[in-house]
């Protein structure tokens, strides 16, 4: 079959709402887009363990500590589900790791902000996981089968993440004035970066049009961002702390909250490597990769030794 008819058949399948599976024919650009998007998503899960890991040893109680440990462990699992999904497209795990370390592959810019206080752990669970869930729920219906299936599993596990974060915020907000101020400070610092998680405005998002056409995305960045603001404002009201945006107000006519302008210059600075923690994050991953090299090699050697022994016994 020639390329044109393969393409027509592929487009017809997408239009009919069928899933694309790894061994199906797909345009090279569809494959590349997925490798880029899924590996970025996986790297975000893995790098996302670092800001939270920072607080495991300093969690204020055993209850908080086991919850945070479980959450960070989940992020590792989510990274693995996603790496596996990307591998079905013909890239290896090592190649992906190398792309992360060299800076060729990106990860969510949110993880380049530091976690300064315990309240940041609450704010991350509430806002960062909240934003991620909105994006990921949409992706459970994405057109590439392995990606959609990974998302279903991840969404099931992620709702505990957001609830544990909100509970931390609630406890702080019901605590002493100092604790409540700490929660407000965390909201002040995490609000705008959370809005940036949905990516550039639709007009400036180079991939949106093609991604919508191929049903990789089902909603645009701006639609998802609006959904997040609409959901989150009443949650902040329950906590009794205020979102740091004087232009945030209910718009009766549109049925949505209006909100202020995002500082896109900051967004691009962080994406391009100039955020507060970009260097720390990559050097932490590089260190783990380098120091784990002997473990990976030893495991292979051990497996070979065991296999040889077994062969000798059965000979």
């Amino acid at each position: 079959m020639d390329i044109k008819s393969l393409e027509d058949r592929f487009e017809a399948k997408i239009a009919a709402g069928e899933s694309i599976e790894p061994k199906d024919w797909m345009p090279e650009k569809y494959r590349k887009t997925h490798i880029r998007q899924i590996s970025q998503h996986a790297h975000s899960e893995i790098v996302g363990m670092l800001p939270e890991g920072n607080w495991i040893t300093r969690a204020p109680s055993l209850r908080r500590k086991v919850a945070l440990l479980a959450k960070v462990q989940d992020e590792a699992g989510h990274g693995l589900y996603l790496y596996s999904a990307a591998e079905t497209l013909g890239i290896t795990r090592d190649e992906m790791t190398e792309q992360l370390l060299s800076g060729k592959a990106k990860y969510s810019s949110i993880f380049n902000y530091p976690t300064l206080t315990w309240a940041d752990i609450g704010a991350i669970g509430w806002l960062v996981d909240g934003a991620a869930i909105i994006n990921q729920v949409m992706l459970t219906r994405t057109s590439f089968g392995p990606y959609a299936r990974a998302m279903v599993r991840i969404c099931k596990e992620e709702s505990f993440h957001q609830r544990q974060g909100y509970e931390i915020m609630l406890t702080l907000c019901n605590g002493t004035p100092e604790q409540k101020a700490m929660a407000q400070d965390a909201l002040n610092r995490w609000w705008w970066p959370s809005l940036m998680m949905f990516g550039p405005r639709d007009a400036e998002s180079p991939h949106t049009e093609q991604s919508m056409k191929w049903k990789i995305k089902r909603k645009t960045n701006d639609d998802l961002r609006q959904q997040f603001v609409d959901i989150t404002k009443p949650q902040a009201d329950i906590l009794g702390i205020s979102i740091p945006d004087e232009n945030l107000k209910w718009n009766e006519a549109s049925g949505h909250y209006d909100f202020g302008a995002i500082d896109w210059d900051e967004f691009w600075q962080v994406v391009n490597g100039n955020g507060q923690c970009n260097k720390d994050r990559i050097s932490a991953k590089q260190k783990a990769w380098d120091e784990g090299a002997w473990v990976r090699a030893a495991a292979v050697a051990h497996a070979e030794k065991k296999a040889n022994k077994k062969q000798k016994l059965s000979a």
């Binding site: 599976e21 479980a70 795990r93 090699a297 495991a299």
Partner: protein, 95 residues
């Protein structure tokens, strides 16, 4: 240093006794024992299973989607393999 990548394994999990093992996903491990241990950590963190199978991905032979026609279409016109193909009176019970 040995730069060999750990092979890829496919993981099948039985959710509870009485149900079949279902494909859950894949992971890398140096050997089968490690694959089982990793599968426990990656796929059954919330008591999702009571039994795990792992098989090296390279040992699986898959049908080719390009040949789906030859493979699966012959079954399409054999409607007589379904119970609804047979026309029986409504008053007939227990059949």
């Amino acid at each position: 240093m040995n730069k060999k990548e750990w092979p890829l394994w496919e993981v099948f999990v039985r959710s509870k006794n009485g149900l079949e093992h279902r494909h859950f996903g894949s992971l890398h491990a140096a050997d089968a024992d490690m694959a089982i241990e990793n599968a426990r950590d990656v796929y059954t963190r919330r008591s999702e299973g009571v039994s795990i199978w792992v098989v090296q991905s390279s040992d699986i032979t898959a049908s080719n989607p390009e040949e789906s026609g030859e493979l699966f279409e012959p079954a399409k016109d054999k409607v007589y393999r379904h119970p609804t193909f047979y026309e029986l009176p409504d008053e007939l019970k227990h059949m």
